[in-house]
């Protein structure tokens, strides 16, 4: 029934990817080892600290940035995770999420700034971001494996692709929302583009940027199970194993740990944004 032969889209993509892998092998290896080293360092540092001390530190951070309610929740939640025996996995997951978010910020904020300064860039980036977010997150695993093999790094890459869009979007939005008369005042005093950016636009956009980072954190957390499919360790891997082996109890425990982590990170990052805004 075909009028035309099938377009070999799958072949083209395969070819494209294999050309990329060959040509840029060195680059991918480099990126891979940097990210790998970074995650490992976080895991090592967090593991070095006795678990109860680490819990104490998190409680202090929660108390410092937010109300005592969040601090209490953090204390009880982390102690429960510890008690259930998921502490090492929690550290792995935390390292995965932190790394993904840090990369999202390092890459996303500059892109957001660029998009805010340049209409063309914004018009190109916006549909790309829509695409990144609507594409099933699963799909990112395939090129991630091809370029970065198996393990935590491709998991992080997939997480970054999925989690970065809100940071870019809200950085762009936050800067564009800075009142026109303040931009005008800054120009009237003879500010250069970068002075205007650092002294006026970024500080005023900070609450919005933090809201974007908060969303990125949540999206990165939502990727931990998917990342475990390519071999990233952590709570996601436990959930995945529980699902494949139909172990409801273990699945519940690991899932609960992820939820506790999610609430804790959400509240803390939300309040960092707010306290900066005041």
């Amino acid at each position: 029934m075909r009028l035309f032969p099938k377009i070999p889209l799958a072949d083209w993509v395969d070819n494209f990817v294999s050309v990329l892998t060959e040509r840029l092998e060195g680059f991918f290896d480099g990126v891979s080892s940097i990210i790998g080293w970074f995650v490992e360092s976080i895991v090592n540092i967090l593991s070095l600290v006795p678990s109860l001390v680490l819990i104490g530190i998190f409680v202090i951070i929660a108390w410092w940035t937010s109300r005592w309610g969040v601090a209490l929740f953090t204390a009880l939640g982390l102690l429960l995770i510890h008690n259930l025996g998921y502490w090492p996995e929690t550290i792995d997951t935390l390292a995965l999420v932190l790394t993904s978010v840090i990369i999202s910020i390092i890459v996303g904020v500059p892109f957001g700034i660029w998009a805010s300064q340049n209409e063309t860039v914004k018009n190109i980036i916006t549909p790309v971001l829509d695409f990144m977010q609507t594409m099933p997150a699963f799909v990112y695993l395939i090129p991630a494996i091809l370029f970065f093999g198996i393990g935590v790094v491709p998991g992080i890459i997939a997480s970054v692709i999925f989690a970065m869009p809100p940071t870019i979007r809200l950085t762009n939005l936050g800067i564009r929302q800075v009142p026109k008369d303040l931009i005008e005042a800054s120009n009237a005093f003879g500010a250069t583009t970068s002075q205007k950016l650092y002294k006026v636009e970024l500080p005023l956009a900070m609450p919005t940027i933090m809201a974007g980072i908060n969303q990125s954190i949540m999206l990165a957390l939502s990727m931990v199970v998917i990342a475990s499919l390519v071999g990233a360790p952590g709570l996601g891997a436990d959930v995945y194993r529980a699902v494949t082996q139909i172990k409801v109890g273990v699945g519940f425990e690991a899932g609960l740990a992820i939820v506790i982590l999610a609430i804790m990170l959400d509240r803390i990052s939300q309040n960092i944004g707010r306290s900066k805004a005041d």
Partner: protein
Amino acid sequence: MPEAKIKVENITKIFGKQPGQGVKLLNKGKSKQEILEDTGLTVGVNKASFEVFPGEIFVIMGLSGSGKSTLVRLLNRLIEPTDGKVFIDGEEVTKMKGDQLREVRRKKLSMVFQKFALFPHRTVVENAEYGLEIQGVDKNERRNKAITSLELVGLRGYENSYPGELSGGMQQRVGLARALANDPDILLMDEAFSALDPLIRKDMQDELLELQESMEKTIVFITHDLDEALRIGDRIALMKDGSIVQVGTPEEIMMNPANDYVERFVEDVDLSKVLTASHVMKRAETVRLDRGPRVALQLMKDEGISSVYIVDKKKQLLGAVHADDVGKAIENNRTLEEIMIRDLPTVTPETLLNDMYEKMAASSLPLPVVDESNRLKGIIVKGAVIGALAGNENELNIKEVKQ
């Protein structure tokens, strides 16, 4: 005539897609309204030309939408002109590249905004030092200058508050301090006091005038309020539909409106708040104290007046005498000094008519006008005041004022 501080030649701004077309239509003599209907282009400013001299407060006045904000932004190119030229200190701003323009904005021009435009994330002193920070002035120096500038506008003690914690009037003081901290030659003030309530607004006007006495900046002040324009302007430019329809001193605008538009603008104004003693005063007949009563009496007879003012050698006012008293003094052999009326109520040449009614009512003699060293400059006769308030130009000394 001194060299102009700011010189504007045919500056034009057309908003819209193909502004060049608008310029052509303007050259053909089309109006703002016609151009909008035919092409959808908005004429913001239509070939405005004027000069502002050093130390002058030049007011640009017009109704909302007449192009005032656009015009003032063309001076520092916050809005790019479509056509025309702007010179500051003889240098063509409209030709400058980015760096040069920035330098002019940093050193020569500061702006004060209608809605203050303070940075909400910076404290009062951080706002005030913004311009210096941009210039890379080191931290101590710029802090000191910012604090000096805040003291100048009466905001000592508020350095570490945030703008959001201050009242409107105080916020605009911060705006003024921020503009002054750079020590610019020129202040551009776009409806700087329009957002304030009337009493505070008047205070700010007074303070600006007071500051201006010592700083002698060149100020371009935008307002839609004629009273404000008359109060603070050395000269006023009236705008309508993007064009300047008249430029002149407050008296010229009031007394010789260039057209119906200006006349309508001006007709509701209370002249007593515009005209001063110097506008209506007449020459005073005087006698030196040492000349004695006979000379005084002769003078009064010659001039047909019933009283005369007594001055010393330096023309300083000592008092006045009535013809009747002088007659008696001659009979009784008494001196002018013994019979003259001392402690006369006086006004200065700058006193507004509005502020002299009480003194006029309290005195049977015409009010003497004296300068700061008590030298007699003239007298105020009731008839002349009434004539001037009725709009009779013959009662005004416009030429003398301009000297």
